[in-house]
């Protein structure tokens, strides 16, 4: 342990701690900008590039960046001397000299860490005027927008892309004033192996990285009387959207969310959890089939479009492994424009399916050509949790004040197994619940697979499913997925089933969720909320969803049937690895 003093207060911290961590321990907040620490995933960006966190250290001539200066025994630190304050203001002033001042119309207005710093540091007029960087805005893909004029070179996105996700498309490009974070050859994201997970967007402190916003498309659809507009909301949305309306992190907002969507004017408010149950029916059927034949194992989950695209680019040799089942979003779209359309006497092209997703890759997924039938996309518009919150705000809908309402029938009924899709480990657990019942032919009373839950990057365990040992693994975060896949490729590990989610912690930490600004306690709360929502439901196994059973009876025949394959399954395409 190391003893030091900060602002004359004694503090004792572990060796290797930084001044920033020591100060935090005694409640002294040192401003930071490029620094980002997500402790529950041991993710850290410690570039020390912005110099906003400088402090005075006795006996040291220059100022020390608190985020990356380790503490020493007997160190005497002062965080708020005039010299430190002036240096920070100068740094901020210089950063702002090459930053657009269009805060009022910026996508990140109100959520920008640079904006917050300028306010906290009492910076009200700028001393430096200089050249402004000018780059073309990258609008070419339908998930992420990059406006590099706003980039402050903190490199948080680069850390997220290269180290956390190991997608590896971003790096510092050029030098001096011309330096910027970019892709190889400064190509648009759409021409790279970007998987659109949006972790760069979640990491960006400013408005340089944002989602492609489709709010206006939704407004237009809602105001088009010729269209029947239905909405589906993903499991992770209900445990996060409340944060935007003053609800405590971890408060489940399902009923209020439904009420808000009805007020916005959707004709029907449905639940992606219904389609999650449907996914489990198909995926588990496929899993049991492979397990019995002992071939093409392990089966990999295929719900996460970021992960699927990652596999297509970086592990094309394993392309036979994922389940052919479509993701819940796409199953929902396919069912809405066939079964539901027929039931309602509507033409598929007259239905608009809007998805609310915690995810940016879902925007890309919906545009994949496989998910279109006769020129009609299964899912028309995808908005993120953040975008829906914005729409509620624009419409003056404060969901926290609304009476709870129920999802509509017939695509609104779901089980606890559908809800847990929102957390890492959830899809696997949902599949295990159904597999255990199907293999044993019983309605088992013990079906909580606690050992597969958690936020840690890789978990593996052996679970008993109807007397059989099933080896399973879970990875969240693509860097962890890579480690797991490398182990499988080299034959060092063998599993029967693996769940992979692109975002660390799963969808609850998706690239489209309300910003957490490094506060990982929020993620813990969202996770707890997901499992609380699951245990609060009377039906907790996908195959017991009455509307799913009805869908098979009336339309699809049985899981794995010809009709089910036609509507609910897909295929994957090897892609270039750059």
């Amino acid at each position: 342990m190391i003893n030091l003093s900060i602002n004359n207060l004694p503090v004792r911290v572990k060796k290797g701690s930084t001044i920033l961590q020591a100060a935090d321990k005694i409640g002294i907040r040192i401003p930071t900008l490029c620094h980002l620490e997500l402790d529950c995933f041991t993710i850290e960006n410690r570039m020390g590039s912005c110099r906003i966190c400088v402090v005075e250290v006795e006996g040291r001539n220059n100022l020390a960046p608190a985020c990356c200066t380790p503490v020493n025994e007997g160190m005497v630190v002062k965080t708020s001397t005039l010299r430190a304050i002036n240096a920070r203001r100068t740094m901020l002033d210089l950063i702002l000299s090459d930053h657009p001042k269009d805060c009022l119309t910026c996508e990140k207005n109100g959520n920008c860490e640079l904006q917050r710093l300028a306010s906290e540091m009492d910076l009200h007029h700028l001393l430096y005027e200089g050249r402004q960087s000018k780059y073309d805005i990258d609008l070419a893909c339908n998930a992420i927008v990059r406006d590099l004029d706003k980039c402050i070179m903190c490199r948080r996105c680069e850390n997220a892309c290269n180290n956390v996700q190991t997608v590896g498309i971003l790096s510092g490009v050029g030098r001096g004033f011309e330096a910027v974070v970019g892709t190889p050859g400064l190509r648009p994201l759409s021409e790279t192996k970007c998987v659109f997970c949006g972790q760069c967007v979640a990491a960006c402190p400013v408005g340089a990285l944002t989602e492609q916003n489709y709010k206006y498309n939704v407004w237009r659809a809602l105001n088009n009387e010729k269209k029947h507009v239905v909405v589906q909301t993903a499991p992770a949305v209900r445990v996060a959207i409340g944060e935007e309306f003053g609800m405590a992190p971890g408060e489940i907002a399902t009923g209020k969310l439904v009420a808000g969507l009805k007020l916005l004017g959707f004709d029907k408010v449905f639940d992606t959890d219904f389609a999650a149950d449907l996914t489990i029916m198909e995926e588990t059927t496929e899993f049991i089939d492979r397990l019995k034949k002992n071939e093409n194992l392990p089966i990999l989950t295929s719900c996460c479009p970021g992960w699927v695209k990652f596999l297509e680019h970086q592990f094309p040799e394993l392309i036979y492994m994922p389940s052919s089942a479509k993701s819940p979003q796409q199953m929902f779209g396919a069912v809405a424009k066939s079964y539901y359309a027929e039931k309602m006497g509507l033409k598929p092209e007259d239905i608009v399916v809007v998805s609310v997703m915690p995810c940016l890759a879902k925007k890309y997924e919906a545009s994949r050509s496989e998910f279109t039938r006769d020129g009609v996309p299964d899912v028309d518009i995808v908005i993120s949790t953040r975008e829906l919150a914005d729409m509620f705000k624009e419409a003056g809908i404060h969901i926290n004040k609304l009476e709870e309402q129920q999802f509509d029938s017939p695509l609104g009924e779901s089980t606890g197994a559908g809800v847990i899709f929102g957390a890492s480990g959830g899809v696997l657990e949902a599949a295990l619940r159904t597999a255990a019942d199907w293999l044993s032919g019983e309605d088992l009373k013990e079906f909580d697979f606690e050992e597969v839950r958690g936020l840690s990057g890789i978990r593996d365990t052996t679970v008993k499913v109807a007397g059989t040992d099933v080896k399973v693994a879970i990875a969240s975060g693509l860097g962890n997925a890579r480690k797991l896949l490398d182990r499988i490729k080299s034959g060092k590990a063998q599993y029967h089933a693996i769940e992979i989610m692109a975002c660390p912690g799963g969808c609850l930490n998706g690239g489209g969720q309300p910003y957490i600004h490094g506060d990982t306690k929020i993620l813990e709360k969202r996770k707890e909320a997901i499992y609380k929502a699951d245990s609060g439901l009377s039906l907790r196994k996908s195959h017991q969803n009455p509307d799913v059973i009805k869908l098979y009876d009336e339309y699809l025949d049985k899981p794995g049937s010809k009709k089910a394959h036609e509507l609910l399954h897909t295929h994957y395409t090897p892609r270039k690895n750059w």
Binding site: N142, N162, G168, S171, G185, S190, S367
Partner: protein, 176 residues
């Protein structure tokens, strides 16, 4: 709403496929380095590998960057980041004669600006460009350590000192 991620092909000639002997040379060089699975360590071998690659191929187009990235188990973005940082590396084809006009402080005050302008005029090239016949590339650099000879011009490895605008045609004519 469509995303054309995968239709994009590099438009340029694939030097790695076109020149198997050059490819082999680069491959052998990289194999002689101690490449392991430690990315941090491999990153330390990147610059020398790029030097070799540029020696062999003349420049570093996408296909060569991909080849080096693959052999060193690095992301293409890391390779491109390094290439874009060092002015020595280029991802564009360069001319047979690489003309570098020093615009460091000493050369600049001694009139390097006028010399550079004359090269630009005479060759009809901007700084950083290569002539259509791939004969000449024009670049500026900062200081070659021969300030007593300012202004200095280098053509490949040859150094010209105390250059004036009038000498420009002769220097170019010397490039047979």
């Amino acid at each position: 709403m469509s995303c054309h991620c995968d239709e994009q092909k590099p438009q340029e000639l694939n030097l790695i496929e076109e020149f198997p002997d050059k490819r082999k040379k680069l491959e052998e060089y990289i194999q002689s380095l101690d490449i392991g699975n430690n990315r941090e360590k491999n990153r330390g071998l990147l610059i020398q590998s790029l030097h070799k690659a540029q020696d062999i191929f003349g420049y570093l187009p996408l296909c060569v960057q991909l080849f080096v990235a693959d052999k060193l188990k690095l992301h293409l973005s890391e390779v491109y980041g390094v290439i874009s940082f060092y002015s020595y590396f280029t991802d564009k084809p360069v001319g047979k004669y690489k003309i570098h006009v020093c615009t460091g402080t000493a050369c600049f005050v001694k009139g390097a600006g006028a010399v550079l302008d004359e090269f630009k005029r005479y060759l009809n090239l901007e700084v950083g460009e290569t002539s259509a016949d791939r004969k000449f590339s024009l670049n500026s650099l900062r200081c070659v350590g021969a300030c007593s000879l300012a202004p200095v011009v280098m053509v490949n490895d040859k150094v010209y000192g105390k250059v004036t605008a009038k000498m420009v045609p002769d220097i170019i004519n010397e490039c047979a």
